[in-house]
């Protein structure tokens, strides 16, 4: 790859447009990743160390452990939906735009 082509990648990376895209992606994906990992490990740690509390019945034979487990499913579906919404509204358009600019500059 020529020096000039390397220049295209670095110039694109430094551009405001790309930096905004990067920020918009990382600013959404990173905190959400930390949040769901903390929430998941809270669940695992409670399952290991708070046995009596999670065994407390809520309705009928359904106890806190069961509710927490089902909530993990709910939050997983919710996060997947939130990320899809964020990506299709905020990330797809600028990412496509940059892609076309880069490919044009590269002569593809």
């Amino acid at each position: 790859m020529s020096e000039q082509q390397h220049g295209i990648w670095e110039a694109t990376q430094a551009s405001t447009k790309f930096q905004n895209l990067r920020k918009s992606y990382r600013g959404f994906a990173f905190p959400l990743t930390i949040a769901f990992l903390v929430w998941y490990f809270l669940y695992v740690v409670l399952s290991a160390f708070a046995r009596e509390w999670v065994a407390t019945p809520v309705i009928g034979h359904i106890n806190i452990a069961f509710v927490l487990g089902v909530l993990q499913f709910v939050t997983t579906f919710l996060i997947a939906w939130l990320y899809e919404r964020h990506s299709s509204h905020k990330l797809d358009a600028p990412s496509d735009e940059i892609k076309h600019e880069v490919e044009k500059a590269l002569g593809h």
Partner: protein
């Protein structure tokens, strides 16, 4: 026609249909690179189904339902870990991987590094993880056959394992990625239908009242409310000889649960056969959609395993779930030392008089199959009308055939992942230094598929006694320790370099494997009062108290990646610019990197 014949007929029909599909897929393959990515033109929906088909293994279907049926709530912990793990793949891995790689995990990890050392490392860990996972599935196939078809002859079981191995080689070498993908789609479809049918029938029995289902399950299990809370299998209170709680062993047991949780949630995004599925779609947007479809399918499936597991616990007798208890030559029930259980009397008890035993004597019984792997098929038989009825036979056969189909689709995916990495990373980029033609590469990949298949057949026959869930959790722990740190660092850390990548992969891989060798799974634990049923019962060298190495080996993989990076002067700022722009935008997607 009895259940066994019907099961065989259904399974052989599945094999026949998939062989036709694979043959047609193979004929429509044009470019050599189609072997790796199936033409990279599947839709997000198709690939989502294929991912579900690739991911939901026999361990998920039979293993989780069985664990819930026997131990109650604890089986549910597997389901949750296996599902939440997909968020790592969705948020951090799927789209950047699709955008910056072509065929293998090594493509992305080696993108901005020295090719030969990094690709060698990536290919090594791909093959190791895939082989562990392959063994789990093939051992599972052998066990399943003996359960469903009543085959107990070990020679016959070996032929079944060999048959599964030969089929997966045929799928992969003839159909490549395209054929494998179709097999996985068909399987996912069948599995979802089968699980939905069973779930609806179970819930119907309880008028769709989940609380009643749980109540009946805890009642029938004999464990009362404890059956509905964590603690019967994982993180147990360990007792010493005097019956008091041993704090050290109990803590180790609870940490083991956390270690398993960590391996499950971080393993998925490092499994090579899952990663290469993202290359079968044309764009990052479709990769994202595939993961969303996969999360939908897999999530609904794991919710259904709750109904299947608790349904089996509520409706099927414990004796059937355990496939009976061990008896001596006279048909008398014996304890684990082989002594006849007398229960205070003078003569023993036969299986027919099981109900006459006292509660204390029942604790001495030795289940023939303590894994519960037959819970789902047994539940199916019960829901169809029970043993000896036509409905029961049909249901048992259908669910049994679906379980076989499940195994075949997963083993094909694994063989493809490891042979691709061998050909593309090791042969083309390390041995031939990037000078191989695509045709040569694919030829090597096919030879590798045959070789890996044959190795897997012999290893699987050798390790048949190992527990399936154990082999799967090792594969997850190794994938999370050896692969995930390198993948995440290379995508998101500018300074990451060759030494960092090599240390991360070999460090994580070695830590996971070494800790396993010194775990209570291989030999007797040195820490007293730990639960263990090791491979070598006479050996005592398990200084590592946890069965799952993840808690230590995963952070170690990340640590080594960091340490390797900061102790090396290599910088690749320009290449990182290219990787970052490509991974976020998909510019020059699918084009090889020039070095």
């Amino acid at each position: 026609m009895d259940a066994k014949t019907l099961s065989s007929v259904l399974f052989l029909s599945f094999v026949a249909v998939t062989l036709v599909i694979v043959y047609r897929a193979g004929r429509s393959t044009k470019k050599a690179s189609d072997f790796y990515d199936g033409g990279a033109n599947f839709s997000g929906f198709q690939n989502g189904l294929a991912i579900a088909g690739d991911y939901m293994s026999a361990a998920s279907f039979l293993g989780i339902a069985g664990t819930i049926a026997l131990f109650g709530y604890d089986g549910f912990l597997y389901s949750i870990g296996f599902l939440v793990a997909w968020l790592v793949a969705l948020l951090l891995v799927a789209e950047p991987l699709r955008n910056s790689g072509r065929f293998t995990m090594g493509d992305v990890v080696a993108f901005r590094m020295k090719q030969r050392p990094v690709r060698t490392a990536a290919a090594t860990s791909t093959v190791v993880v895939s082989i562990f996972y392959l063994l789990a599935q093939m051992v599972g196939a052998g066990a399943l056959v003996s359960l469903l078809l009543g085959i107990t002859d070990p020679g016959m079981k070996n032929y079944i394992i060999a048959g599964v191995g030969i089929l997966m080689i045929v799928y992969v070498t003839i159909g490549g990625m395209k054929g494998t993908t179709y097999v996985q789609i068909v399987k996912a479809f069948l599995l979802m239908i089968g699980a939905t049918l069973l779930t609806v029938l179970v819930l119907w029995k309880f008028n769709f009242n989940i609380s009643d289902l749980l109540g009946a399950a805890s009642e029938n299990s004999g464990k009362k409310e404890a059956f509905l809370s964590p603690g019967l299998k994982f993180g147990k209170d360990m007792l010493d000889a005097a019956g008091a709680i041993d704090p050290a062993a109990t803590l180790a047991s609870k940490l083991d649960l956390i270690s398993l949780g960590l391996a499950l949630v971080l393993g998925t995004a490092g499994l090579p056969h899952i990663l290469i599925r993202f290359y079968t779609v044309p764009t990052a947007k479709q990769a994202r959609k595939s993961v969303n479809w996969a999360i939908g399918n897999i999530g609904v499936f794991y919710l259904m395993t709750i109904a299947l597991g608790f349904g089996a616990a509520a409706l099927v007798s414990r004796t059937v779930l355990f496939r009976g208890y061990t008896t001596n030559a006279d048909g008398l029930l014996v304890d684990k030392t082989g002594a006849v259980i007398t229960d205070g009397g003078t003569s023993g008890f036969t299986l027919d008089h099981l109900k006459d035993l006292s509660a204390d004597a029942k604790k001495l019984l030795v289940p023939i199959d303590p894994s519960g792997n037959v819970a789902a098929p047994q539940l199916a038989q019960f829901l169809g009308g029970g043993e000896g009825t036509t409905g029961g036979a049909i249901m048992l056969a259908v669910i049994g055939a679906i379980a076989f189909a499940t195994i075949l689709a997963v083993v094909a995916g694994l063989t493809l992942a490891s042979s691709s990495s061998f050909a593309h990373d090791l042969y083309a980029n390390v041995i031939k230094r990037g000078k191989a033609t695509p045709e040569q590469e694919v030829k090597v990949a096919k030879i590798a598929a045959v070789a890996i298949g044959v190795v897997a057949i012999f290893l699987a026959i050798a390790v048949q006694t190992l527990n399936v869930a154990f082999l799967v959790s090792i594969a997850f722990a190794i994938a999370a320790s050896g692969n995930l740190p390198a993948v995440l660092y290379t995508l998101f850390w500018k300074k990451f370099n060759t030494r960092g990548a090599v240390w991360a992969i070999y460090g994580g891989l070695a830590a996971a494997v070494i800790l396993l060798v010194f775990s209570p799974i291989v030999s007797q634990p040195l820490l007293p009062n730990l639960a263990a049923a090791p491979l070598f019962k006479e050996a005592h060298f398990a200084w590592f108290p946890l069965q799952n190495p993840g808690l230590v080996s995963i952070p170690f993989g990340f640590l080594m990646g960091w340490l390797g990076t900061i102790t090396s002067n290599e910088k690749n700022t320009a290449k990182y610019a290219e990787l970052e722009v490509r991974s976020l935008t998909g510019a020059a997607i699918g084009k090889a990197v020039q070095h």
